[in-house]
Symmetry: C2
Subunit: 252 residues, 2 copies
């Protein structure tokens, strides 16, 4: 085992791309670094993983220390380990991304959080370490995820209008969507509860409010993860028939 000692000189961190949505704009929570390396630069919130800490727990810890939030969407994305990415030594980082409702978010009083700030994702162009690359990977993942699972709800307040939801999708996908087709599709998923209430205090016709139906979402996940390319019914039937035939012959 001594032959392996040289390998046990590395460290690893988690970095968390925390996405939020506000005023039609997709945002990312960044921290201004107060210490070397990269002092004064904006960075993704992250920290070393403690020796007896799970990776997921570390990501949760970073998120909670900063935002006070638990039980939010959090998923591993990719691991970055370029040899010289960290000046202290060999440090590989496991990137996570999370989706939070900015309305729930309250800056924690901890000193580390005092330098935290939301940034429009489109305006971020320089970050500490390789965090710009990491952010891009996380953003790509979000783009993919939003087409695959109805995660948009994680970013909106509990009650929202269809227009708000559409704007969110447009911000993530960086495209425009057709209003009628969007509504048709979203409503056909049956994941929304019509609250039969409307907005108040807007200077125009108020929109209906909807809520996300978590129960149906879980059904959706359980059934729907085998999407696309359906099984051939005919072959299935044939196979069953062949099987029955064999059984019959065996019986004779």
């Amino acid at each position: 085992m001594t032959e392996f000692n040289d390998f046990f000189k590395s460290a690893f961190t988690v970095d968390n791309a925390i996405f939020g949505f506000d005023e039609g704009d997709l945002k990312i929570l960044l921290i201004k670094r107060g210490e070397a390396p990269y002092k004064g630069k904006w960075a993704l919130p992250g920290y070393f993983v403690y020796p007896s800490e799970e990776l997921d727990s570390a990501a949760k810890r970073v998120l909670e220390e900063l935002t006070g939030l638990r039980n939010v969407f959090l998923e591993q994305v990719e691991t970055f380990g370029t040899v010289n990415r960290h000046p202290f030594g060999r440090v590989i980082t496991v990137a996570y991304f999370s989706l939070i409702k900015i309305s729930d978010y309250n800056l924690q009083p901890a000193s580390i959080a005092q330098k935290a700030q939301w940034h429009s994702i489109s305006k971020v162009n320089d970050l500490a370490f390789d965090h710009l690359e990491i952010l891009n990977a996380c953003f790509q993942r979000l783009k993919w995820l939003v087409r695959t699972r109805p995660v948009g709800f994680e970013l909106l307040p509990p009650q929202f209008t269809l227009t708000a939801l559409q704007h969110l999708y447009e911000a993530i996908l960086e495209t425009d969507l057709d209003k009628r087709n969007f509504r048709k599709k979203i409503l056909s998923m049956n994941l929304l509860i019509d609250l039969e209430q409307t907005q108040e205090g807007v200077a125009h016709r108020p929109a209906r409010l909807y809520e996300f139906d978590r129960n149906k979402y879980h059904q959706f996940c359980d059934e729907g993860l085998n999407f696309e390319l359906k099984e051939s019914k005919k072959k299935e039937a044939k196979r069953a028939a062949a099987h029955r035939k064999k059984m019959l012959q065996a019986a004779v």
Copy 2:
């Protein structure tokens, strides 16, 4: 910096799920461990990442040492870091998966490779470390990838029949597919070159041979990675019009 010393006591490895396809069966290349820990158990090929080695390079190295192959499909999947997953200390592992043509594969003479063997993926049920979990994650990734990008070709010999391709898809997706619909779909992608040759030495009507068109594949990737949920053409036109108008006004 001394405050961080405790973090620099970890190691990391890469583990590689190497998939192959043979005789209608999806296979995985495993190594029988000759040393502790888990001596005698089958495991995914992997090794520690050297201090000045990139993660991707380490995965390539592991693959090449074992199979002699370079330039094959290789992609990072997920990182596993449960605290006690390795008896030597804190070791997190970055899982990769690769797709190779078994026909190209020749066992390297290196001692490490002498215990390597292909296993039907459906029969693997016990592996060293957390490798079963890792294998499952990689298999899921392969399932997803095969629906998304035409990676099936990576696993077949350069020339293949449509039936062979279909069997490959069926093995990966663990389902049956309709022959006519499958052919329609695959051929409509225009990624296959009809070699205008047929099989030889088979005891039935020989099938046509096809080749994968790498040029078209690259086009496909460049254009096609923005699949689904198309942009509204109308709004796009509107935006362009608004932009032109602004430019005009600015010019005046």
